[in-house]
Each structure stands twice: as structure tokens, then as C-alpha cells.
Subunit: 447 residues, 2 copies
């Protein structure tokens, strides 16, 4: 519950009520920082079927606000592995394309298995997590059906005015921006990958894949495509996604989801292992085809502009091949919570706070850019690279496997960079950099 | 000086007398292990002009045999940076292509600078290092003009017979293989990069580049090419190499060095920064053009086969874009020295040693494969990737730099993986794995 908020404290406007926006709101509330969330839809919703969080991201979440972790768990999240003989989570890459054995046509060779540790990964349905997360946020700080038109600077102290398409406006000291209009040079672009996603009931998944594969995360890999699945919703279903390479450009960046048929998918995977085909049979007959976009081609040159910042997908929209886009967004949220809290500490008890707010927020967002941009952009690049490695055409030819398998050391390094993120150093660096810039500012004031 | 060598001890044949072969010999001598080096040339020689070693590799060298480090230093090696205001070495990537300023046409923007620490990199002329290294090895253990035809197994105890093209043969308990004939599926292949190398006197380099650039390592980067240089030979000259992308295949894998003219290079770099052009003017008029080969396409499926092993370039011939091919070879050498020493310890005082030698060596080389193959193959891949990132076509268009510069986080990670290699863990793992397999072997003997 919010404590006593002093008048000197800042107020923050969050534009967008997805998992990252709501997590930021939950973190700011926890720190007694005034915050409002503006969501364009008439209700909360997350696109896509499932999502996963690393143990590292869940520890960050807990530092933001432990209620977010409770929401994740009460939303039915489960470890992505469920093996009675081994408590750890793994990522597994198996041959979905070549090996078929007469005695076991569902046999797929294990190409690589990467230990993510105890509860190293948890999978959840996006909708269930979001539903639980909404309950963490007091209803009065959320406004739905607010589509942002633009953000204007208002007055000499740099206060912001957010103008919505329904003609209303609100003010704030600081805002997150959903991205785009500010810097048209930076925007998501088609990655030439198409995704088909489905939630499949566990008993159907077991029928198709066998008990072990169904209950544990697996990547079925092959030339120019792969299919990933992991359990969600208390192991009552699996979230399955097939990624296909597409040599063409996408015609329309406003319409990135189009209707498709299961039979398109069946045709593509016809040559693959029988269990891949059997699983696809449990996808709905009418599917959606998702064009996968990211910011690799046109990255954001900065994550801050004055007292406005970009965080989460607005800053570094990534492909999902690391399963870590939201994890990186949670790291952003942790950094922003630390910074907004530092800003309030700076202003507390200072009678001239109103004239210093803007400078403090601008410094905070500069530090945010410093601490987060390199990693956010790296994730975008790395996620693309993961797909290239997983979809190597060489997987189609067993005589090329010696070569193809040399990629797993890189996959390991890239995964570890995400899983073993040193958020303690990030917090320490964030606080130190903010303090350094604040004292430089005070120094220059004194002159 | 060799100590008393007991009869139970093994003898090792090293085929190839380059830096890696001679370093291995120096390490085995230090451990009182019988060793002979067979070199096909009539004198020792190293191909290429310069080479560099990381501080990490020099520490490995020192563990192999400190005399190798003395040889490196007496051969005129110098830190690749020389800056009175900063004792550290750096890798520097500067814009060789776009920026020219009216007030300073030699201006090249610093795109990224990576701190390698104090004496983080040392550069040397290959010929000078090799000359000094030869003096570390007792003359009697070296035989020149010995071109290997093949290696045969001889007798029930797995002793090897090395047959040379001059009709002579020698025996050994274990051998390193220069690679190739054993597994024709694994061999170096053209990387579609061409290199032109030269040693340029320091005063000429300063004339072309200015004092700072000449005395410090720099990569001048641009679309589809780059030029790297660093000081060698006690700062009396710089080693400079230009790498160019080549869309074509190389016609003949037996002839990888062909005559060329400086004017070919001049034409290629005509649009580049004036100082790049000025430096090329100091290359000899008649040059050699090197086709850069590596084992990326056809990697070795194993680094061991019984009591024969592949190490250094025979195991993982790499492009030079990390400047770390020989560093990785030195790590191999350290691993092999530890293992051969463990084998001798196992056999010491054992009366039945002669029948156990072969099994012990085979186990040792299995451990070598386990400890070294993943890293060796990773280096080959990573070195290729480095070139792709450094030569991004996007460097040619300043509006694409925001994107192109996102590669440096990956370059940093890849460099750190080489520079910060945990060789202590490698040594520990090597000893433990060998002991585990030896005791498993003894266990099965007892049954």
C-alpha cells in the first residue's frame, strides 16, 4: 500500500499496460512513487500464447516487487522441465528432421542440453499472468482506452503533457514512451521469420510427443525451421510455436498477424519427424500466422530523451528465440525503479525541488540509457543469431552435423549471458552513476 | 636440462616445428619427457609477418616453460599499445572509410576501444620469435627435412611408426599429427578473405599514420575490408595486414599464396581514409596475396585417435581475425604437457608399464579432446564471425552506424572469452578427468 507521498515527489506516466508496463507500475507503487498507467485497449491483453522467465529475471522481478512473482505463480507458471529424476530445468535441442528409427519412429537425437539450474525457467500463459498481475495494481491508477497521440513539453520546468486520441490530456513529470513517433528512424522491421503458435492440452501433447517430451521443454530443430514447446498452466497444456524462415519481405507492417490454416504448417513440416507432425495435428484448424518483427535493422539510438524514456519492447523489440524479451524488459523495470527512487531521495525535503525535478529525471534517464541500451540491443542481435544457428540449413544433412554442432558453444555463451546477468552490479552502477551526475550538477550550480 | 629419465617413461614425436610444435617440445623437455621434433623444411620458418599473444596465453606459455616467454621477449615482442599516458593495451576499431575532416583529413572516428589490461597483448615478428625459440630446444631432439608420409601402428602395444618421405622411419609411444590424411572429411577451406601483409619501418608508419596510430594497435574498418596494424620488433616496425572480402572461390587449395602488386591493394582502398592509403604506399611494390583458409566448413570430429593427437592449427586452423590462433595452440600445449606428465606419473615405478603405456596415452588424448575440442572449434567460428562484424557493409553508410555499432558488445564478449580463459580450471579438469579414467581402467583390469 502506498505510504505518505510528499509534495516534492515526482509522478510518472506509463504508456502501455502489458507485462512490462504493469510490472513497472507495481515497482513504483512499492516505492511510494506516484504513477499512472495508460492503456489503449479497453481491457488488458497480451499478444501471443505463452512466455517464459529465467530464474534470474524472476529474482529481478522480486526486487521490483515480490507481488509480481506471486502473480506469476498464481497465474499457473511452471518450470519448463518436469522430470522426476532431475530437479533442474534444461533447454534441449533435438533433431526434428533426420533421424527416424524403425523401432522408434518418434526417436529424435539429443543434439544439446543446457542446464538452467533449479527452476531455471518458468513458463506461463501470457493471459493468465497478466490477469493475476492486474490485481497487484490499484484500480485507480489505471486508465483504459487511452491511445497516446503525442507527448509535449509544458512550461519551463519540463513537465510533460500526454495527449490522447480521445481529446483528453494528462500531465506528468516523467513518462515511458511506447516508441515510434519520436524517432521514425528507429522501428521494428520484419525478420523474415513466421510464427504459428498454439496452446495444446497436455493429454494431446503426450499422445503426440510421449510423456517426457510433452512435460519438458524441447526445441525440435531442422533446416530453416524449428518448433519449440514447453508446459504452461500448471502442466495442463503446452505452449507450442513453430518458426519458419521466409525468403520474402512482409507486405504491410501495420498488419502483422494474418489468418492461416493448419494445413500450411502441415505441408511445411511434412518431411519432419512423425512426432512433430502429430503435435501439429493438435493445433487448431484455423490458425494465425505471425510475422516476427524486431529492431535489429533500425535500433533506437538512445533509450532516453529528456524526461521521456523507452523501456521493454519500445526500446528493444526482439524476436523470441532466446525466450528472454520480457526478461530483459524486467531488468529495465528494475533499473527504472532504482532510478525513480533515487530521484525522489534527491528531492525529498528540498524546498526548491520543483525546479530541480526535471534535471534529476533527465539525469536518471541518461543513466538508464547508459546501463541498459547496450544489453537491450545485444539481446535483439543475439536473439536473431540464435535463430540463424538453430535453423542452419546444415541440420538437413547429417554429414554436416559435425560442423553444425559447433554452434552450441556459442548458444551456451549467449544463454549464460542472459541467465547469469549480474543485476547486483547493474543496481550498484545505476546508483553510483546517478550520484556522480547529481553531484556534477550541484557542482555546476554552485559555480 | 633433462633430468634422469626412467625406462618406463614415454617418448613423444612432434610432427611440425612451428611455434606450437616447438613450444610443446619445450614443455615436455621441462617435464623430463622424451621428445623429438620432425620438421619437413630444411630450416625453421614461420609463415606470415607478425603475430600477437594475449597476456593470458603468455601466462599459459610460462606454465609450459618460462623459457618460451624469455624467447618471445628476446625476440623483440612489444605491447601492442605504447601510450605514455596509459599503461594498458587496447584493441581499437576506427572508421577507415567515411569521416574525413577538412581540418584533419587523417581523422578517423574511434568506434570502439577495448581494454586488454596491462601488457594485454604483445606483438612480435614471427621469424624473430621462432629464431629465439629454437635456441630453447636442444639441437639433438630436432630433425629437419623430415616430411611425414604416414603413421602406422606397430606391434601389440600400440607403438607408432612414423614413415617419412626420405624412406626413413622412427618409432614413438605417442605423436602429434599435422592433420589431413587421417580424416579427409576434416580440412582447411577457403574463407573468401584475402590478406596482404607487410612489415613497415616505424618512421614510415609514423609519416603515414601519425605518431599515435603508428605506435598503437588499430583496426581501420569499413565495408567488406579492414586493415590492422600493431608495433613489433621493439617498436622499430609495424606489422600491417589488409583483409579483403572475396565473393569467389579459391581455385587451388595447394597454392594459397600468389604474387600480387601493391597497386591491386591501392585500387581496393582508393576510397578509404588518406592515412590508410598513405600506409599502403609503404608496402613493397611486389606483394604476396594470401588466401585465408580455416576449418569452419570441415571441422575435425575429434582431436584424438588412439595415441595420436591433433593440436594447434592441425586441430583448429583459424582465420587471424581474433589474433588468437596461436594463443589457442598454446593452451593446447599446456593441456598436453599436463597430460603427458600425468601419464609418466602413472607409469613410474610400474614394472608392467610397457603394456600399460598405450592405454594411458589413449586416455590422456581422450581427455585432451574433451578439454580442448569445443574451445578450438569455437575459436574458428568466432574468428570468422569477428571478420563478418568488422567488415559489415553497413560501415559504408553513416546512417547505418547506429545499427553497425551494436556489434561491439558481441566483439567484447568474444574477446573476453579468449583473454580471460580460465586455464586453472582447465588444468584442474584435465588432471581430474585423467585420474577418473585411469581408475576406471584399473577397476576394469581388476575384474
Amino acid at each position: 500500500m502506498p505510504g505518505i507521498v510528499k509534495d516534492t515527489s515526482i509522478d510518472v506516466a506509463i504508456v502501455g499496460g502489458g507485462v512490462i508496463g504493469l510490472s513497472l507500475a507495481a515497482g513504483l507503487i512499492k516505492r511510494n512513487i506516484k504513477v499512472k498507467v495508460y492503456e489503449q485497449a479497453k481491457s488488458f491483453r497480451e499478444i501471443g500464447a505463452g512466455m517464459a522467465f529465467t530464474a534470474n529475471a524472476i529474482r529481478c522481478m522480486s526486487l521490483v516487487n515480490p507481488d509480481i512473482v506471486s502473480a506469476l505463480r498464481s497465474g499457473g507458471s511452471v518450470p519448463t522441465s518436469s522430470d522426476k529424476n532431475d530437479p533442474n530445468d534444461y533447454l534441449r535441442w533435438i533433431d526434428g528432421y533426420n533421424s527416424r528409427r524403425k523401432d522408434d519412429p518418434l526417436y529424435e537425437e539429443m543434439l544439446y542440453k543446457l542446464n538452467a539450474g533449479y527452476r531455471g525457467f518458468e513458463g506461463t500463459r501470457r493471459d493468465q499472468f497478466l490477469e493475476a498481475l492486474v490485481k497487484v495494481i490499484p484500480q485507480e491508477i489505471v486508465e483504459l482506452k487511452k491511445r497516446l497521440n503525442n507527448i509535449e513539453e509544458k512550461g519551463p520546468n519540463g513537465r510533460l503533457q500526454l495527449n490522447f486520441s480521445d481529446g483528453t490530456s494528462v500531465e506528468a513529470d516523467a513518462a515511458t514512451n511506447p516508441g515510434g513517433e519520436d524517432n521514425p528512424a528507429s522501428h521494428p522491421h520484419y525478420t523474415q521469420k513466421i510464427a504459428y503458435r498454439a496452446l495444446v492440452p497436455m493429454e494431446k501433447a503426450i499422445e503426440a510427443l510421449g510423456e517426457y517430451k510433452a512435460r519438458n521443454q524441447h526445441n525440435h530443430i531442422g533446416p530453416n525451421a524449428y518448433l519449440i514447446h514447453y508446459p504452461v498452466a500448471n502442466q495442463t497444456m503446452i505452449n507450442a510455436t513453430a518458426f519458419l524462415s521466409d525468403p520474402n519481405e512482409w507486405p504491410d507492417d501495420k498488419v502483422t498477424v494474418v489468418p492461416a490454416l493448419r494445413e500450411d504448417l502441415e505441408k511445411h513440416f511434412a518431411d519432419w519427424n512423425p512426432c512433430v507432425n502429430a503435435l501439429i495435428q493438435h493445433f487448431p484448424e484455423k490458425l494465425e500466422k505471425w510475422a516476427v518483427f524486431d529492431m535489429w535493422d533500425y535500433p533506437a539510438p538512445y533509450f532516453n530523451r529528456g524526461n521521456i524514456c523507452l523501456a521493454g519492447d519500445a526500446a528493444h523489440a526482439s524476436t523470441p528465440h532466446h525466450g528472454a524479451g520480457a526478461c530483459c524488459g524486467i531488468e529495465d523495470v528494475l533499473c527504472l525503479c532504482i532510478l525513480m527512487s533515487q530521484v525522489n531521495d534527491t528531492l525529498r525535503g528540498d524546498e526548491s525541488a520543483s525546479t530541480k525535478k526535471n534535471a534529476a529525471i533527465c539525469i536518471a534517464f541518461e543513466v538508464f540509457d547508459l546501463m541498459r541500451r547496450t544489453r537491450g540491443q545485444w539481446l535483439v542481435n543475439s536473439s536473431r543469431r540464435m535463430c540463424d544457428l538453430i535453423q542452419q540449413p546444415d541440420w538437413g544433412d547429417e554429414s554436416k552435423w559435425i560442423k553444425a554442432q559447433t554452434c552450441f558453444e556459442e548458444i551456451r555463451d549467449r544463454s549464460f549471458k542472459i541467465w547469469h546477468y549480474d543485476y547486483d552490479s547493474m543496481i550498484k552502477g545505476t546508483i553510483e552513476e546517478y550520484a556522480k551526475r547529481q553531484s556534477a550538477l550541484k557542482g555546476s550550480d554552485a559555480m
